[in-house]
């Protein structure tokens, strides 16, 4: 290959990278403008309040089942793994309770549940709004003089930011119960040792930390998923793509904010 050929390929690569960067900034700009539209003054507060209640039921209450099941089993697995990792006569058994508690409070009940909700709630939101877009229901709202972004998205944001912390607390309780029941059933720890571990050197701020993280994650899941759904153009194929993108991007941003918030809140 000639030098000119190599140079032209490199130039193309740089151009493509620059183009990608422009695209990322363009997308971010669109997201910010979308949020501006979402947070404008509601047309009728009473209707928005009613919508918020409906969304709480749809996005919150209907997630209780999956959060409970996953939390129970994750708590159980964490207990067993901790037990196998500290199999040492010099280490007291109550440390199993300590390990389970801290894993659940610090990471599992907020981040892992956040990722699970990104899959369940995020795809639901993106596909619902995306379908409304392709079937012209969003245009119908706009024609009526309704701020469609605000009407469709603001109640979802409020509902998840208020309700998801309860899911986190539920996950904490169920996870610890799961750890206890399986720990006692398999004989790796006694009830007394497990409770001692749960109470040992407890830092109440860990709960606050998890709840703060979940509020951020709820905002990320709802706004990113709504954004991808709202900008769908085309048909059912694009709705599917938007749904996938919404889950992927929400998950990435959850992990990114997990890192940032951990550094900010725990350092």
């Amino acid at each position: 290959m000639t030098i000119v050929g190599i140079l032209s390929i490199n130039l193309k690569f740089v151009k493509n990278k620059r183009f990608m960067l422009v695209k990322v900034f363009h997308l971010f700009g669109e997201y910010v403008l979308f949020l501006k539209k979402v947070f404008s003054k509601p047309e009728k507060r009473k209707i928005y309040l009613k919508q918020t209640m409906i969304e709480m039921d749809k996005l919150g209450f209907l997630s209780i089942g999956i959060v409970t099941i996953i939390s129970f089993f994750m708590g159980a697995v964490i207990t067993l793994q901790t037990a196998y990792n500290i199999e040492n006569p010099f280490l007291p058994s109550y440390l199993i309770g300590v390990g389970t508690r801290d894993s659940i409070l610090l990471e599992f009940s907020s981040t892992v549940i956040g990722l699970i909700l990104a899959g369940k709630v995020g795809s639901n939101i993106a596909s619902e709004i995306g379908t409304m877009r392709v079937s012209e229901q969003i245009d119908a709202l706009e024609i009526m003089g309704i701020n469609s972004a605000s009407y469709l998205v603001l109640p979802k944001i409020i509902a998840t930011m208020l309700f998801n912390p309860f899911l986190t607390m539920l996950s904490m309780v169920v996870g610890i119960i799961g750890g206890w029941s399986v720990g006692v059933f398999t004989g790796v720890v006694s009830t007394q040792q497990y409770i001692d571990g749960i109470r040992y050197a407890f830092v109440p701020f860990y709960i606050t930390y998890a709840l703060i993280k979940m509020v951020f994650f709820a905002f990320i899941i709802t706004t990113i998923s709504s954004f991808y759904g709202y900008r769908v153009q085309g048909g059912s194929l694009e709705v599917g793509k938007a749904s996938t993108n919404a889950v992927v991007m929400s998950s990435i941003f959850i992990l990114l904010f997990n890192l940032l918030l951990t550094q900010l809140l725990l350092s």
Binding site: E43, K44, S135, Q137, D139, A140, I143, M144, G145
Partner: protein
Amino acid sequence: MITINNISKSFDGRKVLSDISATFDKGKTNLIIGQSGSGKTVLLKCIVGLLEADEGEVYYNDILFNKLSFDKKKLIRQKMGMLFQGAALFDSMSVEKNVMFPLDMFTEMSKEEKLERANFCLQRVNIINANHLFPDEISGGMKKRVAIARAIALNPEFLFCDEPNSGLDPKTSVVIDHLIKDITEEYNITTLVNTHDMNSVMGIGDKVIFIYEGQKWWEGSRNDILDSDNKELNEFVFSSELTRKIKGL
């Protein structure tokens, strides 16, 4: 009355609408006709503000609509009703709730008053005993009629219909056409209908605008169409063998 002046619109450098001007009168059924891809839906979307025209002006009763702020546009939009190609009923709401929705959003009526108004609008479009059904439980023609009921719930000044007969059988199409015309005259609404259905054109078109390759090619009444010697219009209107024989082409 709606007036548009020199409307132009391009997508990615490709001109879709070029310099279109027209006036749509109150109490009349104004039709925008043209082949698929001629730009009539884009024109309708520019008029209602779902798309921003690159150039030109849209006036609603002397108010320059397309230069208004988002909040001021909302006030004009509350006077609009629109029937979309696929009806665009809200899936999560029953027929009754769909019609009551604009009343919920923009009026302070009591629940009984809203229900009464919704029932009146539904009866006006001949929808009876379907109040609690959901959009996926009713036929295409019924969906269109419910969408018309929703569009007239707030007594609009302007009614827009994007291909109201698409996907309907000829008999139901005629019912929808006459419903649109009757409502237009009854409530003295400025109505714009986007269509390529020649039965609609000859049945209800008080004023007809023919769009060809993004330009306004011809304008007149439905009676003028029969006498027109515009080549492109004749090719579009009298495209079938039967109509060509009638016209003597």
